[in-house]
Amino acid sequence: MNNGNNIIEIRNLKKSYDKGKINALNGLDLEIKKGEFVSIMGPSGSGKSTLLNMIGALDRGDEGSIEVAGVDLMHKSSLNEFRSTEIGFVFQMHNLIPNLTVLENVEIPMYETKLSSKEMHQRALELLKSVNLEDKIDQNPTKLSGGERQRVAIARALVNHPSIILADEPTGALDSKTGDIILSLLKELHQKERVTLVMVTHEPYVAQMAGRIINVLDGRIESSNLT
């Protein structure tokens, strides 16, 4: 089914919650090309976060098909390895582990790899340098500003060289100035690392940063427009 250029191919994907009372995805079709930067917009409850969870293999669909980075997510038995190697998540609330240092937070996704502690340390350090946080590596995340925390979260998302970065409202908890810095960083890393970037946002201005804007409504793609 996979077109060689597409990293994400979704066909007629359905997902309901609460014993079918809530239809989050209602036969959704979507294709995203390798290396694309896509924004997903839509009102609350439209299904955009559910879609992001499906692409990130945090949840499974009820019907239809979803293939991400060549993996059939409807039928693959264990999705941990897939998440570890193919996906990097950036959450709205950063979700850093408070008792660990900045460096240790970035090392966390590498525990499932075969890297040694030294290699993990080296890799985390490189990424923290790329997000300009090399002077904060031993600090506790609670001591950082919102923008700095989100940069740590971005470094953590990239540490396992994923094919896709899934960002759920990455600027939602930041002021506009800091949000701009984070978006620029995401865009720069997307180009530099040649990673596919899928970003959920409410903000039309933020969505404009992407190459394509997809609007989701009632669990379906309402529109898909190049910016």
Partner: protein, 390 residues
Amino acid sequence: MSFISLVVKNPFRNKTRSSLAIVGIAIGIMVIVALGMITGGLKTSTQSTLKAGSAEITVIQAGSSGSGGFGSGSINQSRVADVQKLSGVKDAAGTLRASYDLQGSNSSSSSGSPGGGLPSMGFSITGINSDKLSLAGVDSVNGTAFTNGSVNEIIVGKTAAQDLNKTVGDTVNLYGKDFKITGIFETGSFMTDSGAFMSLETLQNLTNNQNKVSSIAVKINDNANTTEVSKTIQDAYPNELNTTTAAAQESRINQGLSFIDTASWAISLLAIFIGGVGVINTMIMSVYERTREIGVLKAVGWKDRRILGMILGESIVLTLIAAVVGTVVAVVGVEVLLSVSTFGTVIQPSFSLDIFLRAFGVAFLVGIIGGLYPAYRASRLAPTEALRYE
């Protein structure tokens, strides 16, 4: 940072809660170690007491208890020679035992095994012929033994010498007379080493028990049977003498020690239960608080098995720290307690590896039992629900 470092670091996120959990388990471990050290010490002391002396049979007056109730010398001394003539008897020694209050200067004589007693409970003096000392367990004396019939010579046990702060050549006042310490002995039995021996005749005169002994220590021939010789003695003097064998005493004491052992294990089980509940509570609270974090770990690709291992490991870290704390407190506590109390002279705490292995085994088990459910719960969390958790 390695995974193990992470597991060791995590329990200290909430220091107060973890410390309380550690204290709870440490108390249980402390009880296990302290009891183990004391009962182990008691066992060793009791066994050395039983082994002290080469006499296999102790003859006492019929009607008195085997362990020896207090009273005056009640066996006619002529019976010592009579018993020695019986079939199977290799040697026999008449002993008279008295208890002397060094502070109050009161005395009483008793029947029962030779030697023994606590200075604070009355200084135990045994009268025996010096050539028969080996039957009372005294094989060697630092200095010289007293002379038979001497009225002012005495040998004291090592523990008694330490307690009285006396050495060879010093004198000790008993029954209003000064006795010269001619030697100090050590048998390994806390009871015997806390007492003293003097000439039988002298003690008989001092306690008005002329020609009386309180017990007869009997050594049997190499090829004789203890039970048979014991029966021969009883049959020869059916209403007069009774016997007790070292084997029978050992069996009785072993029953007592086995009861202490069972009680110690019961306390260990109780510690496992109480400690386990404490750990479950701590770890469940920890998992609840970290639900979102567990969702993140799943999102970044952690396997369920790793999350299970992390929570279980944290639980074990808590209980092993508690084991270290409990063990240190128990060792220091027992040593301090014994050094300031009179029990220090009778109990030498045991430092057997078995006690510490049991303590750490219990702690490890509590860690596994207490952490298993919270760890399983954490590993089964659905990532999307965990990430939504507020």
